[in-house]
């Protein structure tokens, strides 16, 4: 086995002061800025009129009754189910009962739907704009420097990514340029934000992206016919097989006492 000699490279210590520290500081500050931007841009939920609120709440009530039916007694559950189902079927809870059966309005023309989309766009913008700016800033000022060495070996495939702008064929892929330090900062600065902003921060974009993927469509998304939702909920309620957690509770209590 041939021992590959370790490459050594003499670098100006000024590289640390003028490249590494600026990039790190900028990354941390961008995270802090993003956190406060998202705090400031978070719009308070808009006030809805009574009818629209009632429509939403009654739909929510149906869902809650269906998921928590086990805490009610048989009689209480039956009464609630009958009332809700009757209301759903007759359309008494609808915002505009006379419009029942008509196709839903175009979501683009509905101002309340626009609001939700604007919020999503703002979020995306808060992620995209700083990223593009910093990437181009680093590319403009700091490309072509080798600043660091990774402490673990990686394969040659990473060379083009880590040493972008440094065209040296035989250089060990462990040497990395400023752009790869930027990537490391994107993924690894979470602990700094936890220190600075507490654990509920909105600074890390990696965590934010994961959150966005997990989030399902917000309740009663735009463009859905509330009448159809009510009908579906009535059907769901009809098929619930009710039982109570208090069934056989005395036997469980006795068993607990005896042992």
């Amino acid at each position: 086995m041939v021992q590959i000699p370790v490459q050594t490279l003499h670098r100006d210590p000024q590289l640390f002061y003028w490249i590494l520290i600026p990039i790190t500081v900028v990354m941390v500050l961008t995270g802090v800025l993003r956190h406060y931007a998202s705090v400031l841009m978070a719009t308070a939920p808009k006030k809805q009129d009574v009818k629209a609120m009632r429509e939403q709440r009654f739909l929510g009530r149906g869902v809650t009754l269906r998921t928590n039916h086990h805490v009610l007694s048989q009689k209480a559950f039956d009464v609630r189910r009958e009332t809700l189902t009757a209301g759903y079927e007759s359309g008494a809870y609808l915002k505009e009962p006379e419009k029942k059966g008509q196709p839903p309005a175009n979501p683009l023309s509905d101002p309340s739907a626009m609001d939700g989309m604007m919020g999503m766009m703002k979020n995306n913008m808060a992620m995209i704009i700083p990223n593009t700016l910093i990437m181009s800033w680093i590319n403009a000022f700091f490309s072509g420097y080798v600043i660091m060495k990774l402490p673990f070996p990686i394969t040659i495939k990473f060379k083009s990514m880590l040493q972008a702008g440094v065209q040296t064929k035989d250089m060990d892929p462990r040497w990395m340029s400023s752009i790869s330090w930027y990537f490391l900062c994107i993924f690894g600065l979470q602990f700094v934000y936890v220190f600075l902003l507490g654990s509920d921060n909105a600074a890390s974009q990696v965590a934010q992206q994961m959150q966005q993927q997990q989030m399902p469509n917000p309740m009663g998304g735009p463009g859905q016919d509330p009448d159809k939702q009510f009908k579906a909920e009535a059907e769901n309620l009809a098929v619930v097989e009710h039982y109570s957690v208090l069934d056989d509770v005395e036997e469980r209590l006795l068993a607990g006492i005896k042992s």
Partner: protein, 118 residues
């Protein structure tokens, strides 16, 4: 359906689960960065560095278990090393921390290795 009814008889509060796992993951990400600093200063490379990281993050979880989880869970009659009093999954408790903190570890490891050694 016995399992669903069990959950309904002994309900689990989602907020508490989130709070518990957040406490653990914050601890892990902070300690991971400190391990990165120490490994970087020691100048460990490749496998030995990762090995030290995994060993120490396991020790962190173990200390967390012994100091925080064990007093209440053992007195409830649960077997040792079983975190289900406060956490949903056993594997989640013992293993997830090491992987969530690894990016911060690599960052500080590289930084201090670069500052001190090269």
């Amino acid at each position: 359906m016995p399992s669903e009814r069990e959950f309904q008889i002994h309900p689990i509060v989602q907020e508490s689960v989130v709070h518990n796992s957040k406490a653990l993951s914050n601890l892990q990400s902070l300690t991971a960065s400190l391990f990165g600093i120490s490994v970087g200063i020691l100048g460990l490379e490749s496998y030995s560095g990762f090995l030290v990281y995994f060993v120490f993050s396991f020790i962190t979880t173990l200390l967390f278990y012994v100091l925080k989880v064990a007093p209440e869970s053992l007195s409830e009659g649960r077997p040792p090393l079983d975190p289900t009093r406060f956490y949903r999954g056993v594997f989640e408790f013992w293993l997830s921390g090491a992987f969530s903190g690894i990016s911060g570890f690599i960052l500080t490891w590289t930084l201090f290795y670069g500052l001190v050694r090269v």
